[in-house]
Amino acid sequence: MFLPFLGSLCLALMVMWGKEKLMVWMWLIVLVILMTSFLHHLTKPLSFNF
């Protein structure tokens, strides 16, 4: 859960800094980390206490 937010903060600071190179690829890496966290959540046993 920590990593997607850390990655987002790094991306936001890099955008503000004006670093455009490979930005889309880094964004995609952070999205993959986020969706991996989601898939990990999907594999948990179903319960109604989230």
């Binding site: 859960m1 600071l13 455009e20 889309v24 995609l28």
Partner: protein, 177 residues
């Protein structure tokens, strides 16, 4: 297309991206209000939905800072679809009668329902922005970053940092829940 017309189109795109970024900042601020003032701690799926909205905000931010590009609109759509998937999962978990709900409600709808509506709204919004988008040519002239755009980017970065801090306090470095 006339140069002045192209400039007006780019300015409109810039303003729409600033409006989108401010909308996402407002969403994160409302979530913070419920978290800090009403002591409504976010669940793991709620945090993932916030991260998804932040991903869309980053795409708007790139359009503002570096100028509009089709790639940035594409990643905005990807972020909105990802957020929609996460929100749909949580809506489906609570859709069965008797399965209860999580957290407070705003105007009668829970936050995961709002997240789903927001992601659908964002997809439509980005589609509308793509309709006015024209590929930038070299002689189109510079479209500078306005003061409100700079402030909205700063606010967005501060909100991401604040989220990171609270997530560390709530979950540490690992998975929540």
């Amino acid at each position: 297309m006339m140069k002045s017309s192209l400039y007006a189109t780019e300015r409109l795109g810039h303003n729409l991206n600033v409006a989108g970024l401010l909308g996402i900042c407002l969403t994160l601020l409302i979530a913070f209000f419920y978290q800090l003032v009403l002591h409504d701690l976010p669940c793991p799926l709620c945090l993932l939905q916030r991260a998804g909205l932040i991903m869309v905000g980053l795409a708007f931010m790139m359009n503002i800072r570096f100028g509009e590009k089709g790639q940035y609109y594409a990643i905005a759509l990807l972020g909105a679809i990802g957020t929609g998937c996460i929100a749909t999962r949580q809506v489906l978990l609570h859709i069965v009668p008797g399965s209860g709900s999580y957290g407070s409600a705003l105007f009668g709808l829970h936050f995961y329902t709002w997240a789903l509506l927001c992601s659908v709204g964002l997809i439509l919004y980005v589609a509308a922005m793509l309709m006015q988008y024209r590929h930038r040519t070299e002689d189109a002239g510079e479209v500078g970053v306005s003061k409100i755009a700079g402030l909205s980017m700063l606010l967005f970065a501060v909100l991401i940092a604040a989220n990171l801090g609270f997530i560390f306090l709530q979950c540490g470095f690992g998975e929540c829940g």
